[in-house]
């Protein structure tokens, strides 16, 4: 008894005991499912009946899958439009807000509230209704005598922008991160620049921007990954249509698994997605040394 007690009170042992939840969780809810999915990705599997080994067929199928191409295109389109848009707006507002201290609380609340609530089902369905042919957006346009009855979520050109807009609308958390990092820039830097007679634009590009590149990088990274995995908005607002222009990867996988009974194929898709994300994360890290300022503030 005391031997056991002594054992678990050893500091290293205790440290490992404290890490156990993570280790167990990692094995049980990550490693095991990933192993299973690797196996399923080589099978034909409709969930209802046992999987049937088909070798690489799921992977070769991807090469000729036209809907996969459309889905990848939609996902990339979304990421390349929504992520920069969100970051640019967040940065612009952060810079605007940075110095106006008195009203700060109210402003921050106004801009952050949408991010806080934007993830909810209620807001997604609200968004869907806003851009309907009979939706509020058209009613507002009608006030200005513009086009009514246009179904923004049904047109191949506009549907994805409705989702991009929803995503950009939730720039609040990125904005807060920018605000925090702007505050860390020592005032003395600006003072020195003012003495040298630098214009405000110059100050922004020469001081502010370089110093917050680590934050931009961090935001870019997180938002890109989140962007690649967008599901709720497409599922609830457009259902992937029209013409798969909003059929994001996560939704396409979902449909293969649960609507069409191709869980094997969708496991293969998951592994494909994982490699794509690893590649993109790697690439982003690779570009880091070209534009991210690492010098710190000292």
């Amino acid at each position: 008894m005391t031997a056991i007690k002594r054992f678990i009170y050893k500091e290293n042992v205790a440290g490992v005991i404290f890490a156990l939840p993570f280790i167990i969780g990692f094995l049980a809810f990550l490693v095991v499912p990933m192993g299973m999915s690797l196996y399923y990705s080589f099978t034909r599997f409709n969930i209802l009946r046992p999987p049937e080994w088909i070798g690489l067929e799921n992977y070769t199928r991807m090469l000729t899958d036209e809907r996969l191409r459309e889905s990848l295109f939609a996902t990339l389109y979304f990421v390349f439009a929504a992520v920069p848009l969100r970051l640019v707006v967040a940065l612009a507002i952060a810079i605007l807000l940075f110095k106006s201290t008195k009203m700060m609380g109210i402003y921050r609340a106004m801009y952050y509230l949408p991010s806080m609530l934007g993830g909810s089902v209620a807001v997604a369905i609200l968004w869907r209704r806003l851009f309907f042919s009979t939706g509020t957006f058209n009613t507002i346009l009608g006030v200005f005598g513009l086009n009514r009855n246009f179904n923004w979520i049904g047109d191949t050109r506009t549907a994805i922008w409705v989702l991009i807009l929803l995503s950009a609308w939730q720039f609040g958390s990125a904005m807060l991160i920018f605000l925090a990092s702007l505050k860390q820039i020592p005032e003395t830097y600006y003072e020195a620049a003012s003495i040298d007679g630098a214009s405000s634009a110059r100050r922004f590009f020469k001081i502010t921007l370089p110093l917050i590149t680590p934050t931009i990088f961090f935001n870019l990274m997180m938002q890109t990954i989140a962007g690649f995995l967008t599901f709720n908005s497409a599922f609830l607002i457009t259902g992937g249509g029209p013409l798969n222009t909003t059929n994001f990867f996560a939704l396409y996988m979902y449909n293969h698994t649960f609507a069409w009974g191709n869980a094997g194929y969708s496991s293969a898709l998951a592994w494909f997605m994982l490699s794509v994300l690893a590649l993109i994360t790697g690439l982003l890290f690779g570009t880091r040394r070209f534009w991210v300022y690492d010098g710190g503030f000292s």
């Binding site: 969930i47 209802l48 042919s133 009974g261």
Partner: protein, 438 residues
Amino acid sequence: MKRVIALCLAVLMLAAVGFMTSCGRSDTEIVFGWWGGDGRAEQTQRIIDLFVEGSDNVDYIEPVIASWGEYWEMMLTRAAAGDLPCVMQQDTGRMIEFQAAGLLQDLRPLIADGRLDVTNIPQMALEAGMVPGSSGIYAIPTGMNVTAMTYNATLLRELGLSAPLNMTLDQFIDLSREIYARSGVRTNWIGADPSIQLEIHLRAQGVNLFDFSGPTPRMGGSPANYVEFFQVIAMGIEEGWHIRPEHLAGREGAEMTPLWYPPGDEREFANMRQWNDPIWSNMLTGQLNDAPDWMEIGMTSFPSNNPQRASFGRSTMFLAITTQADDLDASAEFLNWFINSVEAYTIMGGDRGVAINPVIARAIDPILAVPAQRQAAHVAWTNDGNSSPFFAGRPEGAAEVVGTNGELVRITDLVATGAMTPQEAAEAFFAFGNATVR
């Protein structure tokens, strides 16, 4: 203070855990699953309550509900988890898949020992619950639907036009052009589920959408049979009388009704997007409920060059007992009551189609609301020589071909936006279908 907070937290946690797991389980409980929205949920709950009240054995029926699209995703996952409802609403489009996975109880033994009384159920309806390659009966339909096209009768009357029964395709196209030219109101040729119109179109040519005659199921006919279906869309959009691509195929669902039914008392043509809706006969009830008072809704057959052969009736709203039901007796008791209960059908009115049991249909006809009566009349007319028999089964993989987010929707979109010619569309769809169904 800290202890109090900790205590409160603990109590709250316990309450929370209790909340999530409490389920009021009693001695005999069965689970009943169906698809539909809020309205059907309420009405079915009343039916369930009525049954439980009168039953000596069953104390509780737990509902499982989802909308049509999500219902099947859910049932697939539940089946995999061994958690199917005891009694579930089934559909000919899915029965084959579920039966092949051994999930549906063969009802013949229950019929033989009298636990299910089917004396009043027509033979044809019982056969609709069978699947190819098996002699079992796996589900019993509760309603009867026929293909039907509803339309804005007020609009047509104001224009001095009419939509006769058994219209030919050419008559329909001429009518659509005329309506568009004179009012600007467009036509919806494919409706919310393009596969119905496609099926009709193929049947007029003596072909079925899915061909079960060979060793494995495949698409019926040849690509040539499919071309005209896509041509009508392409032509209608090019000439302007068809609704624009952005409004096609379920993109707005029933939420679009404010457009079809102009809001409030605005009766201007500019506010109406389409004058017709090709759909099932049981949809009439809901559409009449939503339409403004002044608006009349007419009902006619699908346009077709051979309507007597193309139109079809379909047993629907099947109820099946699953092999995962743990209480077969209770499930059978409920199913038996449902298919033979005048009270149940009185509550549901026309919502699930016309009662398949003719005794019930006759009994409730006088007390049915007007919409349900009209629907019953249209079903009777269709079954009286204006349709031909139809096997509605769909093979495995069909959902990916003609389902909610399936290939047919995508290809009609491609045709509608001009990205594909009807000829290419027919070939692409045919090839995709044959590669996918199994």
